[in-house]
């Protein structure tokens, strides 16, 4: 794909994200909202959706690149659960939503969970896809169990954490948005700076080393960037599944596999996708609200299966 067509497509995705974001501000249970509702409730929520979607898709693109595996994503690898566990610990310790401690622990949890999945899956200097999926399931389940244990001990907050685990964009204070924004910028900055090296890594670690890539440092940095992005997403939306898996897939089909443009495209598409999903989540069963994570999984799983069958060539490894 030429640079020009890629730039045109990315421009189009940007407009799509902008349009979806703008339209979503006017969608909600109140038919004729006043300015206060629009500015104080809807706008922060739309910003949170854009940010969470962008972060998840960015994290997914990064994971799929560094692990050479199109099935990798923050939800499946346990990164999101790790971030949620970190966040839950912070909440129990009395830190507020969006406080620095909340995000630091979320990022640490995400990094630890990713590293654990990766190390568990590693055999003979290789990381087979099946091992990775299995170790991700184990790490996810383990973190999930720890979260439930924590809140079984402290029942008064149990319901809110359940909603959090399902993935829901509800509370989006300024502090939450700023913290997530900083983590997103950090994570994407690192991810984009690693673009060329990540492309080379997809040829395998041995080959990448002979092309001068420090593979261990690269993986460490990529996991850290992935953890920042995941912590940002979990901070504003809890554990939302499938966005990080599907969106980078679609971006790869449209833009090719080169990491730089792929991750920029994925971020924009992810922002548009999750914002759209969240607008649906708060309207289709109004006045009740569906957790957006439930909706992305309901839409995402069949779409993923369809994609899997349609593009078998993507899975040659």
């Amino acid at each position: 794909m030429s640079k020009k067509t890629a730039a045109e497509k990315i421009g189009l995705f940007f407009l799509a994200a902008l349009a979806v974001g703008a339209a979503a501000v006017f969608v909600g249970p109140v038919a004729h909202p006043d300015a206060a509702i629009l500015l104080k409730i809807r706008l922060p929520r739309v910003l949170a959706g854009l940010l969470a979607g962008a972060s998840l898709a960015g994290a997914g693109a990064l994971m799929q690149g560094v692990l050479r595996n199109p099935l990798a994503d923050p939800y499946i690898l346990g990164t999101s659960s790790g971030a949620a566990l970190g966040a839950a610990l912070a909440l129990l310790a009395g830190a507020g939503y969006g406080s620095p401690l909340f995000y630091v622990l979320a990022a640490c949890g995400a990094f630890a969970a990713t590293a654990a999945s990766y190390l568990l899956a590693r055999t003979d200097n290789r990381t087979p896809a099946v091992n990775l999926l299995l170790s991700g399931v184990i790490v996810s389940a383990f973190c999930g169990a720890l979260i439930l244990l924590l809140f079984a001990l402290k029942r008064d907050t149990a319901f809110s954490i359940l909603i959090f685990m399902m993935g829901s964009i509800t509370e989006a204070s300024r502090a939450v948005l700023i913290g997530a924004g900083i983590l997103f910028a950090l994570g994407m900055g690192i991810s984009l700076a690693l673009s060329r090296q990540l492309d080379i890594l997809s040829l395998g670690e041995e080959k990448a080393r002979t092309l001068g890539v420090n593979t261990e440092a690269l993986k460490l940095l990529a996991f850290a960037a992935g953890a920042f992005l995941c912590a940002a997403a979990v901070g504003v939306a809890g554990t939302v599944g499938f966005v990080g898996l599907i969106v980078p897939h679609v971006a790869r089909l449209l833009l090719g596999p080169a990491h730089g443009r792929l991750s920029v495209g994925a971020v924009l598409l992810g922002a548009a996708f999750l914002t759209l999903m969240d607008a649906a989540a708060r309207t289709i069963a109004a006045p009740a609200e569906i957790p957006v994570g439930v909706l992305t999984s309901v839409c995402g799983a069949p779409f993923f299966l369809w994609l899997l069958r349609k593009s078998k060539t993507e899975y040659k490894s």
Binding site: K207, T210, R252, E314
Partner: protein, 262 residues
């Protein structure tokens, strides 16, 4: 001048099992050197040692007179290119995108490829007859073409030392000859030391000046290809009856007659 690549008494063993031992040789700049031997004789292990991917447990490797262990990974990538026997690409990168990766070692880590880098990659792709494939995903190419794309990547690295593990697997006869001719020219014109590991001793006999025959992890013969491939050596190493013959133009050919049943 120090040889481009020098191995001194190399030894390596996998958990006490198979062992490579007492391997020594020198390769000069511009030389096209072959390494051959039966399955499991240690060819690939030797190549991994030479590429610096694994460190020898005994002996040492010198590149341009400097110990391999003392060369930084980045400097090593600018000095040495290595084509492994098998390459798989999980995503649909195009041939051009793969080839240009060979230019990566010369770039600062945050920089992307320049137009010059792409020009250099295009030039090599044309040299290898791959211009029609440049914008196609490598996974959509035939296995032979895919192999050539990775040879193109290695040439794009403009290395002082080029190591290739079975460069002609999946290539048809014409492509095999073309590839060996190209590598020989590349060695001569750029002053690169090219080391090729190959099962095809016929090709090695024709194109490589000197070669090493390995058997059971130990050197069985080292020297000019014509002498190394003497009937007695082929019998001892491969268990076949064979001889080399020169054609009217002085080209050397290997004539394999039968398994040796002595």
């Amino acid at each position: 001048m120090a040889p481009a690549l020098k191995a001194e008494n190399l030894g390596y063993s996998y958990n006490g099992g198979f062992a490579l031992a007492d391997v020594s040789f020198e390769i000069s700049a511009g030389e096209f050197f072959g390494i051959a031997g039966p399955n499991g004789c240690g060819k690939t292990t030797l190549l991994k040692l030479l590429s610096g991917d694994i460190a020898p447990q005994a002996g040492k490797i010198l590149a341009d007179g400097t110990g391999m262990a003392a060369i930084s990974p980045r400097r090593k990538a600018a000095l040495l290119a290595f084509l492994p026997a098998e390459m798989s690409v999980p995503y649909d990168f195009t041939a051009r995108e793969i080839a240009v990766m060979g230019r990566s070692p010369g770039l600062d880590w945050w920089k992307n490829y320049s137009d010059e880098d792409y020009d250099a990659a295009n030039e090599i792709l044309i040299l290898l007859g791959l211009e029609h494939a440049a914008d196609k995903p490598v996974n959509a190419l035939s296995s032979g073409e895919r192999r050539k794309v990775f040879i193109a990547q290695a040439l794009c690295q403009r290395p002082r030392i080029l190591l290739l593990d079975e460069p002609t697997t999946h290539l048809d006869i014409r492509c095999q000859l073309q590839t060996f001719e190209l590598l020989k020219d590349f060695a001569a014109s750029r002053g690169t030391a090219v080391v090729v590991v190959s099962h095809d001793i016929g090709l090695v006999a024709r194109y490589c000046g000197r070669m090493l025959l390995l058997k059971g992890g130990r050197p069985a013969a080292l020297g000019a290809a014509r002498e190394t491939l003497a009937p007695a050596n082929l019998r001892a190493v491969y268990g076949v009856e064979a001889e080399t013959r020169a054609d009217s133009e002085g080209g050397m050919h290997l004539l394999i007659k039968s398994p040796y049943n002595g």
